[in-house]
């Protein structure tokens, strides 16, 4: 919580702040929680003056209260075209603007490839800019160039398109939050920013795995808060890559008829495969849209020495049930 001293008000002189500090009123919240008349006595200022300071705090720091009518105009059906027809059809036009979208899948399921493709498609025919946050160090400019080459783009066009994909390498959560903070403050400005891709979030979060202090969760919460602000104010979408983990649990299942009871019940172990989205329970409800990318190796085929991999992309519900699905192909010419 911000200190009361950050408020620029003529009445909040050094002496007044000292008097407030003596009464342990140090933060804005302490100031708001305390009764007006008590603050008036403690700080030796009049009640109307205390109310004036309170009003200044509300004007500057509280969320604007908007009528539903205004929000209706702001939020109607805004999606970002992914440039991939099957995804657009499945998502009713594209990735939702103003929200966090999660792209998850097992290792080597093609998540980074799809992110590269989304970045290219998003800037290819528009003035849009994409911010690609690479946390694994495997963003490949060569891959982007290869994709553009397959679209028969000239070198000049390739350069123009690649210029609109801004890549930054981030190695920990603190750096990521600092970057978002700078975007929020406006100290970093990206013209016509339309999408932020974070590939991938677990890379940063797993550094905090097992910490008793839960600092990782605190940082993740801050990351989400900044993303939400940027999504709303810049009208962009944030795509976060998450990893799906696969666990094989040994469950003991009673095979005998439940009606019969034996002194020693006969049990046989069965193995159940469980697939979980990484990043824990807090994260589970954060994305507005969860996309699961899966590969179908049995359907892969080869055409002219070029392996064409078959992928499926599903929309998951909050209970991890598949709501909708579409098929994609991954080849040297990209994801389609």
């Amino acid at each position: 919580m911000q200190k009361i001293s950050i408020i620029e008000h003529t009445l909040l002189t050094e002496n007044v702040l000292k008097r407030l500090a003596n009464r342990r009123i140090l933060t804005i919240l302490d100031f708001l929680n305390e009764d007006v008349d008590k603050i008036s006595c403690a700080a030796k200022i009049t009640i109307p003056q205390v109310l004036d300071i309170r009003n200044q705090i509300f004007d500057k720091y509280s969320a604007p209260v908007l009528c539903g009518l205004i929000l209706l105009e702001r939020h109607l059906n805004k999606c970002l075209n992914t440039g991939i027809e099957s995804i657009n059809t499945m998502l009713n036009e594209g990735v939702p603007i103003g929200h966090i979208t999660e792209l998850c899948g097992l290792a080597n399921s093609g998540k980074t490839q799809l992110c590269h493709q989304l970045a290219v498609n998003c800037v290819k025919h528009t003035e849009n800019t994409v911010l690609y946050i690479d946390t694994k160090g495997d963003f490949s400019a060569k891959r982007i160039q290869f994709l553009l080459h397959s679209y028969k783009k000239s070198y000049k066009e390739m350069a123009e398109i690649m210029f609109k994909i801004k890549v930054t390498r981030i190695w920990n959560m603190e750096e990521l939050i600092e970057l978002l903070q700078n975007l929020k403050k406006g100290t970093i400005v990206l013209n016509k920013l339309s999408m932020i891709i974070v590939d991938s979030l677990p890379c940063l979060m797993l550094q905090h795995l097992g910490e008793e202090s839960k600092i990782g969760l605190a940082l993740l919460n801050q990351f989400v808060n900044y993303c939400r602000f940027l999504c709303d104010h810049l009208q962009i979408c944030v795509v976060c890559v998450n990893v799906q983990t696969r666990w094989v649990d040994q469950d003991l299942v009673e095979l005998e008829d439940e009606k019969k009871h034996y002194s020693t019940s006969f049990q046989e172990p069965t193995y159940v495969e469980k697939q979980n989205r990484c990043l824990g329970k807090y994260w589970q409800h954060i994305p507005a849209l969860v996309l699961l990318l899966d590969k179908n190796p049995l359907l892969d085929n080869e055409v002219d020495d070029n392996t064409i991999r078959q992928l499926s992309l599903s929309v998951l519900t909050s209970n991890s049930k598949v709501l909708k699905q579409c098929n994609l192909t991954l080849s040297s010419t990209g994801v389609r």
Binding site: M1, Q2, I28, L29, L32, N33, P48, L51, D52, R54, N55, I57, F58, Y61, S62, A63, P64, V65, L66, C67, G68, L69, L71, L72, R74, H75, L76, N77, H99, I100, S213, K214, L217, A218, L220, N221, Q222, N225, Y226, R228, F229, C231, D232, K281, Y282, Q284, H285, I286, A288, T317, S318, N319, K321, L323
Partner: protein
């Protein structure tokens, strides 16, 4: 004194404090005759309960010409996943359904429905909250909001625990204690206005891992930090069917709900 501060006579003050918007007998399938002014409703689940929340909001906002109560709501969007398109669809659907079920009502063409939807939307006030500081300051700012919009009868906080982790440093506050702390701040600010408070939280966000029956009992009357209705939404094996456990001070009622992304139907 700041210009936004209203000066009023004792009579005006009395009128403001006593003329409360009545939301009793609102959404009877969940609240029967309630909720009464000042009561607190906790809505929690491990699933996405946005469609249910939208249904509750729409029921509250249905215009009085349809026989329902005319109140305003303030909605704190703390988790960012509120779907305004779904809210709009739900409003249109409810109005159309009502019109088709009550043929005696005046002619209702698309324009009339749109007009009514706009009317409903003008009764909801939304605050988009992005961090913990803004959350607390916005709660305190409610004092001023109520002066401007005196017909607000319910405050909805979705989700009350959205900033919990960002506030935890090396010493971690218990989840239940945190929820109570926020509730207490809201109740203190709203006490003169006797608003009903509805908040949501994820099911896992609780210090107690016990079932609903083992939770702290609900209170009969509005009391600081206490809940009057505890509503749990439990997914079943059937994808769109949910069991609803409604806990009050006197009973635990169970109901079944069909809920998908666009529709809510009580079975």
């Amino acid at each position: 004194m700041a210009s936004s501060c209203k000066i009023e006579t004792g009579m005006q003050l009395l009128a403001r404090l006593t003329k409360q918007q009545n939301i009793e007998k609102f959404y009877p399938v969940l609240f029967e005759n309630g909720p009464r002014p000042g009561e607190v409703i906790e809505l929690y689940s491990e699933s996405n309960i946005n469609p249910l929340l939208i249904d509750i909001i729409c029921e509250a906002l249905l215009p009085s010409c349809f026989g329902d109560l005319k109140i305003s709501i303030i909605y704190f969007n703390c988790n960012g996943n509120f779907n305004y398109d779904s809210l709009l669809s739900c409003m249109s659907y409810k109005i159309s359904t009502y019109v088709s079920e009550n043929k005696t009502t005046q002619n209702c063409n698309d324009n009339k429905i749109n007009e009514l939807v706009k009317k409903m939307l003008s009764n909801i006030f939304i605050a988009e909250i992005y961090d913990a500081s803004q959350f607390y300051i916005s709660i305190h700012n409610l004092e001023r909001v109520f002066l401007e919009h005196s017909n607000i009868a319910m405050i909805i906080v979705d989700t009350i625990t959205a900033f919990y982790w960002s506030e935890q440093a090396h010493k971690i506050c218990k989840m239940d204690t945190y929820t109570k702390k926020i509730l207490q701040i809201i109740q203190k600010v709203c006490k003169d206005h006797k608003l009903s408070i509805l908040y949501t939280r994820p099911e896992h966000f609780s210090s107690s891992k016990d079932s609903i029956e083992a939770f702290e009992p609900c209170n009969q009357f509005p009391v600081l930090e206490k809940v009057n209705y505890r509503i749990q939404v439990v997914p079943t094996k059937d994808e769109s069917i949910y069991n609803i456990n409604i806990r009050t001070h006197k009973s635990l009622i169970q109901r079944t709900l069909y809920m998908d992304q666009d529709k809510v139907d009580w079975i």
